[in-house]
Amino acid sequence: MTILENILLAGLIICAAAAPLCKRLLATVIVYLAFSVILAVLWSMLQSPDLAITEAAVGTGISGILFFLTLKKIRALKGTRDE
Amino acid sequence: MRPFYENLPFICIFISIVCGVLSAVIRDGRKTYRLALAMSATIAVLSAVLLYCLYTENISFVYSMGRFAAPFGNAIKAGPLQALLVTVFAIVMGLSLLGGGQSLFHDILPEKQGLYFVMTDLLMAGLLVLVYTNDMFTGYVFIEITTIAACAMVMAKDTGPNLIATIRYLFMSLLGSGLFLIGLTLLNSIAGYLLMEPLANAVAILAELGQYHRPLIVSIGLMVVGLGIKGAMFPFHLWLPDAHGGATTSSSAILSGLVLKGYIVLLITLMTRVFGLELMREVGVSNILLTLGLLGMIFGSLAAMREYHVKRMLANSSVAQIGYIFMGLGLGTEAGVVAACFHILVHAACKPLLFCCAGRLSTVSGHHRSLKNLRGSAYRDVAAGVGFTVGALSMIGIPLLGGFVSKLYFSKAALESPFMAVVLLTIAASTVLNALYYVPAILAIWVRPPWEEIQLIMLEVKPEDTRFDRSFFIAAAAFMGLIFLLGIVYHPILNVIEAGVRLM
């Protein structure tokens, strides 16, 4: 368990450091969402299932949708119908 | 069975939340405006009753939010100081809305006006809880409510520079609440409670035993800095001039008169109730507050002198006035805290008056904001001119006006401090600097420019703008009354504050 925990913690740091370094905003957002998913797993390992469910639904799902919609509005998504 | 008046703080909070929700139902600008005014009036009256009861009986009480007594449930705590602050806050909120009403309906699109009053009502709820709270995490949640409502009020005017000012304000505020939250987390990890009284006991024990000394200091520092950023403490004030200067008149008045004060009141509660002034002095946080306050007093004034845009000048002057408050807190004595509380009241009365008058003067000058274009505008609306003059003189510190009394008490409090000379000199220097930008502003609005220039300005003024604005007149008169009240009958008010600080 501890090994998995440490891997996840390292993953958190890598994702957090990588997210803002990406050139394209789309990649930034996707890496950030990966960060959120890792966090949700970590919370279920910390014996807080309530947090895991909420993080998965709100932190990943809803924030993800909002980020993507914003990217679409600021024309940072390649291949949308505007272009 | 507790006496009924102990329910009043909770009823006030409840009224403001319900009014906020109702405003979203009504959606009509004028009706929600009246609702917000009625709400402020009700809260002011109820809090005044509470103040009377608490002051005559000389008590403070803890009110558990629910049936679980402390330390298991949420709680709020009210004493004379809290009741006094809330009374003044509610009055100032109502008067700011009244005084800036005309430009409010001019600046904001009709379909968004209802939402604006949702913000003001919930902002009031946030401020009430920040004043009354007896629980750290409740404080955090309502800090966020205040932040979102305040940002929404800044951007309500919906011009480009406004949006940019809002996003800068938002990020600085989020930094502040983030630091507050991590400080709270560290404190929770070593002390283990969230409710203030058990937390204070735990902190006192830790301080005495010397356990976890470093986390304790760092968490105190983080919370102070977090609230300081939100309260525009000196090096973190860069967001303030744009946010306060660019917003619509009522928003500027409420933001600089009340929102900044809400965070500072929470800071005062933490300092006196949780950490204790002695611990603050011991770990050196007091001295940092004092230094930053003194620097703020000077640099805020210097920045205000450079401004030509009247509202931004007032906003920069807020930085200087907030510097006074932090300086008083940094003295680390009860006298300093009392003077700081009094200055909170004075500034809450003066700055909204100045903003409302400046807004009115710019309305009668064709919505220009630079001092050059406001020349002679006081003759177009004498009430606004007089109000601006009274507010500015009070900020400078002329006797009979509120500002004088607070400077007097700051100086008195400084006499006991080891840094007496520096503090007194800075107060003197800051007074001179205040005069250096307020006096020219007063002269600018009272001096008639050449006739051709007046005609040029009058071309841009719409006739309906120069009509007598009754609600503004009432608000300005009430604000001036409040300032004279604070300047002349200050003894009973200071007695209430002293009793309140003792009963914190």
Partner: protein, 124 residues
């Protein structure tokens, strides 16, 4: 020193994440990246807070019928606080994203220094 780091690994990771988030929020010029920096910063604080409540070998705080024994479960307080915090943080994120959309609509860019220059020009 090293032992302390290993023992408090959650707290140490939380501080590192907090630092990454803070630096991004303060120094990035792109508003979207600022928002992501803020989200990372908040998540880091929540990680620190949630790790306070964990007790090794104890289970999730869902009480079994008949075994009401506090030494079987982890501390529920931090979980509850974090739950509140996550929702607050998402609301703030939504608000700032909406602001970014409006700013882009008006200025066509979300780089802060360009925006500041444009705003200065537009004033008065």
């Amino acid at each position: 020193m090293l032992e302390a780091i290993v023992q408090n690994r959650f707290a140490v990771v939380a501080v590192i994440l907090f630092g990454i988030g803070l630096l991004n929020m303060m120094l990035q010029q792109n508003l979207m990246k600022k928002v992501i920096g803020f989200s990372i910063m908040d998540s880091a604080v929540f990680l620190l807070l949630a790790s306070l409540g964990y007790i090794e070998g104890h289970g999730a705080p869902i009480i079994d019928e008949g075994s009401v024994n506090a030494s079987l479960y982890i501390n529920p307080i931090p979980s509850g606080l974090v739950l509140t915090g996550i929702v607050v943080s998402v609301s703030v994120t939504a608000f700032s994203l909406a602001l970014i959309q409006r700013i882009y609509q008006r200025y066509g860019t979300i780089e802060l220094h360009e925006l500041l220059e444009r705003a200065k020009k537009e004033e008065d």
